[in-house]
């Protein structure tokens, strides 16, 4: 789901830089409002977790690989604003140092994974969990469903952005300049693997870590 440089034309990656800027501003405001200096390590922990969990490539036998992102999970402990920041920091380091995701596509990747996972995924978790006790089963179910929908929405945004390049950018010879795959290819290719495998992996990681924290340090879960 890390879009590399070259797949998105300037209209798309430019728009997504414009879209992510106010979200980063919102995230920094949220950190200012809700985070005490003593909680800053939690932001670092979230970002480190997101970075490391994305290294665990899950294979489809004979096919492609994918991975969890941790976005919804992090938001359960830090709130969605700080979680977007945590995931964005991981994605930016991945792009600059490891070439995982493009430099031009940083806005796109942070928007897709951060907003879908940390904002929408967390929103669904909150909707299901309501005001239930931090140790309740409702929290776990909400987290699993939120994480699953979050990563699938991120995948859908990615597939959509990749798929519209054949319409947006065509060379003088009529051939696509950037991602050459139309929506009819990108949507099924990316969505099927996320619906049936990577989404489940994301939900599992989220549920397992949350269950562990519920037992060991429930005070970390936001009420």
């Amino acid at each position: 789901m890390h879009i590399p440089d070259g797949y998105l034309g300037p209209i798309t990656y430019g728009s997504l830089w414009v879209a992510i800027a106010p979200i980063w501003f919102y995230a920094s405001k949220k950190i200012k409002e809700t985070m005490k200096a003593s909680q800053v390590p939690l932001l670092a922990l979230g970002s480190a977790f997101s970075f490391v969990i994305m290294m665990f490539n899950v294979p489809i036998p004979g096919g492609t690989t994918g991975h969890a992102t941790g976005a919804t999970l992090i938001a359960i402990f830090t709130g969605p604003g700080a979680a977007i920041m945590a995931v964005s920091i991981a994605l930016i380091i991945q792009a600059i140092i490891f070439g995982d995701g493009g430099i031009t596509a940083i806005g796109a990747n942070c928007f897709n994974i951060g907003v879908a996972g940390a904002l929408v995924g967390y929103g669904i978790y909150r909707l299901i969990a309501g005001k239930s006790d931090v140790k309740s089963r409702k929290r776990v179910i909400g987290a699993g469903i939120g994480a699953y929908i979050g990563i699938n929405l991120a995948a859908l945004l990615t597939a959509f952005q990749l798929g519209i390049q054949t319409v947006l950018h065509v060379g003088a010879d009529g051939r696509p300049l950037y991602s050459p795959f139309p929506l009819s290819i990108t949507i099924p290719a990316i969505m099927l693997e996320h619906i049936f495998l990577f989404g489940i992996v994301e939900a599992l990681v989220t549920v397992l870590v949350l269950l562990y924290i519920q037992k060991s340090q429930p005070e970390l879960i936001r009420g």
Binding site: M1, I3, D5, G6, S28, I31, K32, M35, K36, A37, S38, Q39, V40, P41, L43, A44, L45, G46, S47, A48, F49, F51, V52, M55, F56, N57, V58, P59, I60, P61, G62, G63, T64, T65, G66, M85, A86, I89, I92, I93, A95, I96, I97, F98, G99, D100, G102, I103, T104, T158, H169, G171, L177, Y178, S179, P180, F181, I185, A189, I190
Partner: protein, 126 residues
């Protein structure tokens, strides 16, 4: 921040930091499993050199899109694909992967602490 405050935080999150450390050491599973099951990279994350092959697989005319080729060369990452040059196969690649995990995590923690300090600083600490 004084040292005493750092100690309190370290105690609070110690178990979780150990968890991150264990995950870094286990990260090569993310290389070994795909190798065992003959899985390639993620869909749509191919280099300009591989894309024509995939276009052919999807039933499209295979060529390297001009803009894609140009933009894909915009940045050369220092540690591409979490692998060190000459250390891209077998045991060496797994060790390199762990080193990449350590380097990446250290950078991510550094940037997060900096950003956290800038924005959360005003709230003081409890």
């Amino acid at each position: 921040m004084t040292n005493s405050k750092f100690k309190i935080q370290d105690l609070k999150f110690r178990k979780l930091w150990i968890g991150i450390g264990i995950l870094i050491l286990l990260a090569p599973i993310g290389l070994i499993l795909p190798e065992l099951l003959k899985a390639g990279g993620a869909w749509g994350e191919w280099g300009a050199d591989e894309i024509a092959e995939w276009m052919k697989k999807e039933g499209l005319e295979d060529y390297i899109p001009e803009g894609l080729k140009r933009l894909s060369e915009i940045w050369s990452a220092p540690i591409p694909d979490y692998a060190f040059s000459g250390w891209d196969k077998g045991l060496k690649s797994y060790i390199g992967y762990i080193f990449s995990g350590i380097i990446g995590t250290a950078l991510v923690i550094g940037v997060s602490m900096l950003i956290g300090k800038i924005f959360a600083g005003e709230n003081g600490n409890s």
